[in-house]
């Protein structure tokens, strides 16, 4: 059968169903980590992919919400059987999500999107702003050779070093720094108010990390749009490959609605609207028109 749009990450591997909430704990100000019993998604999902979550009952909120994989979880030593996401309470859905108790159910479909590419990397520099750290525990774990994701299990050449540059408004929003340090990730924090780490921009931290690194660096980045744009500019200036994970309002997460488009340039420099859900959310930073 002919493929109507090659290079697109269709939801061919996706599962849809109702999952039991195993854990929903506060990890920082307005920030929660949710764990769902869902072996179907846990075994298939790749770092940088996402799932859609929707409250099981009712039509308000109506649409699902896209949430990046934080990491998969295994109850024993066997293959993963749960997925974790971390979310910031910002609106109607996340406010209700924060009230969900373990044992309740939630609807989910995924894995969705392309995820980060499995590329040989010497020094991976992850740049996160705000709640943009959420895709990176899985990225780091894979890059450090601590877990193989996907079905079949994806093999990624092991990186020598993984660094997280993590910028937040204020120290009370720092979520999951322990999780990264436990994996062996070097964490550099920056805050807007100087309450922790570097007082200033996360891109300043990323610049100094890369400039001081004696290995070939590659950047991955997730966070608010201005910070993504600044990181893309930094990558261009330092001539470092950089991928960005874009966040867009999505209605379906599977490419049906054409809501979540972003301006992406082709090699000849012309931009077109691309669907963030199935042609992203991860794009080469050099191609994104911010």
């Amino acid at each position: 059968m002919s493929e109507p749009c090659p290079r697109t990450s269709y939801a061919d591997n996706a599962w849809q169903g109702t999952c039991r909430v195993e854990e929903n704990v506060r990890v920082a100000r307005d920030t929660y980590r949710l764990r769902l019993a869902c072996p179907e998604i846990a075994q298939r999902i790749l770092p940088g992919q996402f799932l859609m979550l929707r409250l099981t009952a009712g039509n308000d909120p109506l649409l699902g919400r896209p949430l990046a994989l934080y990491d998969v979880y295994s109850h024993c030593d066997s293959s993963p059987d749960a997925v974790q996401v971390v979310y910031l309470v910002v609106g109607k859905m996340t406010t209700l999500l924060a009230e969900i108790k373990p044992g309740a159910t939630i609807d989910a479909w995924g894995p969705l999107g392309n995820g980060f590419e499995a590329r040989p990397t010497e020094h991976l520099v992850m740049v996160a702003g705000g709640i943009g750290q959420t895709p990176f525990p899985a990225v780091a774990r894979e890059c450090l050779g601590l877990h193989c994701y996907g079905e079949p299990r994806r093999q990624v050449p092991r990186a020598k070093k993984v660094t997280l540059c993590y910028g937040v408004r204020s120290s009370e929003y720092l979520a999951g720094v322990d999780d990264f340090e436990r994996l062996g990730v070097e964490v550099h924090v920056s805050t807007d108010d100087g309450s922790a780490g570097h007082h200033g921009l996360v891109t300043d931290v990323a610049r100094s990390v890369i400039e001081r690194s004696d290995a070939a660096c590659r950047m991955v980045c997730c966070g608010p749009e201005p910070m993504l744009a600044a990181t893309a500019e930094l990558a261009r200036e330092l001539n470092v490959p950089c991928e960005v994970s874009l966040e867009r309002a999505m209605a379906c997460g599977i490419g049906a609605c054409f809501s979540c488009v972003a301006k992406v340039r082709d090699p000849s420099g012309n931009w077109t609207y691309r669907r963030t859900c199935i042609e992203g959310p991860v794009f080469d930073a050099a191609g994104v028109e911010f």
Binding site: M1, S2, E3, P4, C5, Y10, A11, D12, N13, A14, Q16, R54, N59, D60, P61, L62, L63, G64, D107, W109, R248, A249, A251, C252, I254, G255, A256, C257, F258, S259, C260, V261, A262, T272, Y273, I278
Partner: protein, 350 residues
């Protein structure tokens, strides 16, 4: 002594199940229990005829997926058994590629969503070369949704699509609220009649006219489409709406106005289907907030011969499959032997 052993006797001709309880060591006693219709099993529902006729277009069942809510079908293949659907309506195509409107393109509202995608599509040539071969192989009726700014645009598209293999029918999107130009065909009866007639003349495919609810009298437009030669009327497209961020004093959508869809508009859609079904002879395809089997049955009873699932595909990608699973039983519950048996069967309220 064990409990009474129920013994099922053959099904009665009226479909009710007779259950005899034979109680041991008791004077022979027979309990004839007549189960209410809701308790009947699927044996009868298996015999319900699901195929429907929309003018010259025959569908294997009345459950279609609405244009603009299902991509070009390939997107949904991982979660939906596409071959089970009554029909697939790919996203509307225009003659030339259109980038669509600036984001944000959709926003959730209470019980619904506003969108202003703006007919983002790669144009007719790309559709024929890249999308249609895939769609033609699915074994499902493909109803191609087309839009244009002028009558000539529609006629040109219809002419070009006429010979393309795998197309079951055309749906004329004369009702998209998110593009300037072309909307006239859905709001002006004469323009509507002429565009349908032009397409009918230009191609041999069955033609559906998809109407907007954003008019004073939708039945008037429907009659014009019928006069123009439409095989069926599909309605409703989205209701023109708006969302405002008062703190920033600006519209939330990039295009300011958008089309409201989802459960919030179901009553408007039911009303429009009811009014149009009584005003025209041709069949009606109901669209608007359909998400469950109950919604489908409401539309059929109100006068729709078939339905299109729209926004529900976004928030429950397998909604169409769940509805198809439940349809035979729901039809049997009304004692129907076919879909046609329930279409437009609302009783008058005294």
């Amino acid at each position: 002594m064990g409990p009474a052993a129920p013994k099922l006797t053959p099904r009665r001709s009226d479909g009710y199940t007779v259950v005899e309880f034979i109680v041991p060591r008791q004077p022979p006693a027979f309990l004839v229990v007549t189960l209410p219709p809701v308790c009947r099993d699927n044996t009868n529902s298996a015999n319900v005829q699901l195929d429907v006729q929309l003018g010259r277009l025959r569908l294997r069942n009345p459950i279609a997926v609405a244009s603009g809510t299902f991509g070009y079908a390939r997107e949904m293949a991982g979660l939906v058994d596409l071959a089970r659907l009554g029909a697939i309506l790919p996203k509307t195509i225009t003659r030339d590629p259109r980038p669509g409107n600036p984001p944000p393109r959709s926003v959730e509202t209470t019980g619904g969503m506003l969108n202003s995608i703006g007919l983002n599509n790669d144009g007719l040539d790309e559709f024929i070369q890249r999308k249609m071969p895939y769609l033609a192989d699915l074994g499902t009726a493909i109803i191609v949704s087309i839009a244009g700014r002028t009558r000539e645009d529609f006629v040109d598209l219809a002419t070009r699509l006429d010979g393309v293999p795998g197309i079951a029918a055309l749906e004329l999107n004369v009702s998209c609220p998110n593009v300037s130009g072309g909307v006239d065909f859905g709001t002006n009866p004469d323009a509507c009649r002429q565009v349908v007639a032009g397409v009918r003349q230009a191609c041999s495919l069955p033609v559906l006219a998809k109407l907007t609810p954003n008019v004073t009298d939708v039945a008037l437009i429907a009659r014009a489409a019928e006069e123009g030669g439409a095989d069926a009327i599909s309605l409703i497209n989205t209701c023109l709406g708006m969302a405002v961020d008062w703190r920033r004093r600006r519209a939330i959508l990039g295009n300011v106005l958008g089309g409201l869809s989802g459960p919030a508009i179901k009553p408007i859609a039911l009303r429009a289907v009811y009014q149009v079904a009584r005003a025209v002879e041709v069949p009606v395809m109901g669209i608007g907030g359909i998400a469950t089997i109950d919604d489908v049955m409401e539309f059929l009873v109100a006068g729709a011969t078939a339905v299109q699932i729209g926004t529900a595909n976004f928030y429950n990608p397998t909604a169409s499959m769940q509805i198809l699973d439940a349809l035979p039983t729901a039809l049997a519950e009304l004692g129907a032997r076919s879909v046609a048996d329930v279409v437009g069967t609302m009783t008058e309220r005294k």
